[in-house]
């Protein structure tokens, strides 16, 4: 299926049976609505067939299909009242008046709007309009009802009510509902069958329980509920290794030493005493979520690197003739940065700025003069403005400062900073990362790894000139665990789980 030259759906093959409540679930843009519109007859698929009771209906126009739709924004006719909206389809079919009245009344009763027949639809609340839209579709006695994110516009409480109500209506009328949503909880609550979609492809089809407990890949596991996904290696059938330990599991059929991903749901892990579980770790954070605490336990620390920051007080260069001032600081580089160094980099790293003295108005730096060689040493760089204000600072080239661990490398350089730059920083952690050029990569240098923590022991507001140590950290192995007991941050704990809490997935590339 192509749309505006973009392939929106590819290789969709899906069987839907009578009386099923099927949910198409996926993030926005995954093609679920497109698929629904093809079923409804509002879009033509560039390839493929839509079979309905064994007949190809791909070329049958929407108005001849035995399918009705509840539209995303209901699409009620504003010029008609509730009764006439619901009767619309029956009047088109020229059914006798008394039959129409009977059927409409029955529908109004089904959706609990008996007394609202004469109301204008524009005077009704979102939830009521929703019911009218459902009644308007169902009154035609379709074999399939399509619902395009019908609960999206309702508030949480009403949405929960309507979920139950829709399920009840579906049971009562006994037809197939095909429901589109991006809300995984909605899908789990209502469906007989969930179809998880991503980028126009079906990722997995199954019952809510199957999909939750046996996700096929990382995407499904992440999209349906929360999960911990750990890289592992299959040692043998029902034996999986992760965190350098081998655990029993219940999955088999993988190759020996095949790399896999292991899913453990947060509610399946128990926190026990230190050394009493299968893994040990430290509580990193605890978040109160109402029914439970979301506790993050770190079992292995990330990679860390520490750099030195020299803080000084500087006076800007003053050019009274041009009414301009300029400031910049010395900065550190490592040898490998030099080939890729651009003027914009230099300005950013030196934090070079020029401004009008009388007004607080920035002036652009028009020229950057520097001469650098790819070896250790100190090299001057001079910044100029158009009006002739200039300032020189040093670029200090040092050996690469890096820390390598088993699978990661982390880099950072020392920092030289004016005291005001630190005080005025709006997002200090991010700025420190930029100033120190802190980066972490996988051991093969292919993929960047996020630096999640920046640690330092000064107070941003009251910092004095001097030398400070700054530590950058990547995330270690973390487990999200739902517990009913509150744990303290920093507490040493053990983690326990049973073999059937582990679910093994084939590796699914980047998600």
């Amino acid at each position: 299926m192509e749309f505006d030259g973009q392939i929106v759906l590819k290789g969709i093959s899906l069987d839907i049976y009578e009386n099923e409540f099927v949910t198409l679930l996926g993030p926005s843009g995954c093609g679920k609505t497109t698929l629904l519109r093809i079923l409804g007859g509002f879009l033509d698929a560039t390839e493929g067939q839509v079979l309905f009771d064994g007949e190809d209906i791909s070329k049958v126009p929407a108005y001849k299909r035995e399918i009705n739709t509840v539209f995303q924004k209901y699409a009620l006719f504003p010029h008609l009242n509730v009764y006439d909206n619901i009767a619309f389809g029956l009047k088109i079919k020229k059914e006798p008046r008394d039959i129409i009245e009977q059927k409409v009344m029955r529908m109004l009763k089904l959706v609990g709007l008996e007394d609202f027949g004469k109301r204008r639809v524009t005077e009704m609340s979102g939830g009521q309009q929703q019911r009218v839209a459902i009644a308007r579709a169902l009154v035609n006695e379709p074999k399939v009802l399509l619902l395009d994110e019908p609960l999206g516009a309702l508030d949480l409480k009403l949405r929960k009510e309507m979920q139950l109500e829709l399920k009840k209506i579906q049971k009562e009328v006994g037809i197939t509902f095909i429901f589109v949503t991006h809300d995984q909880e909605e899908a789990l609550t209502m469906s007989d069958k969930i179809v998880v979609m991503r980028s126009g492809e079906i990722q997995q089809t199954g019952t809510p329980i199957d999909i939750y407990n046996e996700p096929k890949n990382r995407f499904v596991a992440n999209f349906i509920g929360e999960s911990n996904i750990i890289d592992g290696i299959m040692k043998a059938d029902k034996r999986v290794m992760f965190e350098d330990k081998v655990f029993d599991c219940v999955d088999s059929g993988f190759g020996t030493d095949e790399p896999v991903e292991v899913v453990i749901r947060p509610e399946d892990i128990d926190i026990v005493g230190f050394n009493q579980g299968k893994l040990n770790g430290t509580v990193k954070s605890v978040l109160f979520k109402g029914v439970h605490y979301e506790t993050i336990v770190e079992t292995r620390l990330g990679t860390t690197i520490t750099v030195e920051m020299s803080v000084y007080e500087s006076k800007p260069v003053c050019n009274q003739a041009a009414d301009e001032e300029m400031s910049a600081n010395d900065f550190y580089l490592d040898v490998t940065d030099i080939p890729e160094l651009t003027k914009a980099d230099i300005i950013a790293r030196a934090n070079a700025q020029a401004w009008k003295s009388s007004k607080d108005e920035l002036v652009s730096i028009t020229k950057v003069e520097y001469d650098i060689e790819p070896k250790k040493g100190s090299y001057p760089v001079t910044f100029h403005t158009a009006a002739g204000t200039m300032m020189s600072v040093e670029m200090i080239v040092e050996d690469v400062n890096k820390v390598e661990s088993e699978n990661e490398i982390i880099y950072a350089v020392n920092i030289n900073k004016d005291i005001d730059d630190i005080r005025e920083s709006i997002a200090l952690d991010t700025d420190l990362k930029t100033w120190a050029n802190a980066q972490a990569w996988t051991a093969d240098g292919e993929e960047p790894i996020a630096i999640t923590d920046v640690e330092y022991d000064f107070d941003q507001e009251s910092i004095h000139a001097g030398k400070y140590r700054i530590t950058f950290k990547t995330r270690g192995y973390e487990y999200k665990i739902d517990t009913t007991d509150e744990h303290n941050v920093g507490e040493k704990v053990g983690l326990d789980f049973t073999p059937d809490d582990l679910h093994i997935m084939k590796l699914s590339g980047n998600v």
Binding site: G40, G41, F42, P61, A62, Y63, K64, I67, N68, T69, F71, Q72, K73, A75, L76, F77, P78, H79, F88, G89, I92, K93, R120, T122, E123, R136, A137, N140
Partner: protein, 277 residues
């Protein structure tokens, strides 16, 4: 919001000087006798008595309304399909421009051009002459007057209907087709009813200028074809009877107010929640 309220003042001043005061003067003139002099008012219903007792004026009034109704009907019949095609077209902006461009040239000039074309030795008759059709008399006929009016006023109708069709929610048409309506039924049951407000404001914009127009009948209808606008013009410019002119103007104003009231209530009936925007 309060500070913006002051922006109203310049227009308010303008409206008082240029609209309210002249209207009051018309009112005063209409109820006085030969009241060209502002100093001595004598209340009189003479002008009204004269208008309603002389059948000539009533005939003219009836003719004016007839022409205006005819014009409005043609504007709807020709304008609706055009507006519909525009709203569906991929070249919306170009078509809107095409409809608006004629209004960039003065109405009077364009009407003069029609005069040239419709003349006995004009463009059209010359063309017909090639096929051996004898010169047809176009000027000084109802046809010419209605043609001139439709030509001049139809852009207002098209643009009003176009706007209402343009903002029609496409999902409503999908909903209708989902409920079994074919193209024709979709148009009759959804598109048409929802474009009624556009038609009604189009009617207002066409009917009002048409019923009081005086230069179109003058240019295309010739001296023979007198409409109420011409009578009013005559009373002020030629006959110099300001009282009678004002009285006719007032009668026209009342007729217009009544017809506006009727269209408004029609609009309310078809589209109760959108009637006030």
């Amino acid at each position: 919001m309060k500070s913006f309220r002051k922006l109203v003042y310049p227009y308010l001043l303008w409206a008082i000087i240029m609209i309210v005061i002249p209207m009051l003067m018309i009112l005063v003139y209409a109820f006085t006798d030969e009241g060209n002099s502002v100093r001595n008012f004598v209340f009189s219903l003479g002008s009204f008595r004269r208008f309603f007792s002389d059948t000539v004026f009533l005939v003219v009034l009836r003719r004016s309304i007839y022409i205006a109704v005819l014009t409005t009907v043609f504007c709807v019949l020709l304008g609706y399909p055009m507006a519909y095609a525009m709203a569906k077209s991929r070249f919306k902006i170009h078509l809107v421009l095409l409809v608006t461009i004629p209004t960039w040239i003065n109405m009077l000039v364009r009407t003069y051009a029609w005069r040239g074309m419709l003349d006995n030795n004009g463009l059209i008759n010359n063309f017909l002459g090639f096929f051996g059709i004898a010169p047809l008399k176009f000027l000084e006929t109802t046809f010419a007057v209605v043609l001139g009016m439709v030509y001049n006023f139809i852009p207002f109708m098209i643009l009003q209907i176009y706007t209402s069709l343009e903002k029609l929610d496409k999902s409503l048409l999908e909903a209708a087709s989902d409920l079994g309506a074919n193209r024709l039924q979709r148009f009759l049951k959804v598109t048409l009813p929802l474009s009624v407000p556009g038609i009604i404001s189009g009617i207002t914009l066409v009917f009002l200028p048409a019923v009081s127009s005086f230069f179109i009948p003058k240019l295309l209808g010739g001296g023979q074809y007198v409409l109420i606008g011409n009578v009013i013009e005559n009373q002020f410019l030629t006959a110099g009877d300001w009282s009678f002119g004002s009285a006719i103007s007032l009668i026209m104003a009342v007729i217009i107010i009544i017809s506006m009231y009727i269209t408004r209530s029609l609009d309310k009936k078809t589209n109760p929640e959108g009637g006030d925007d």
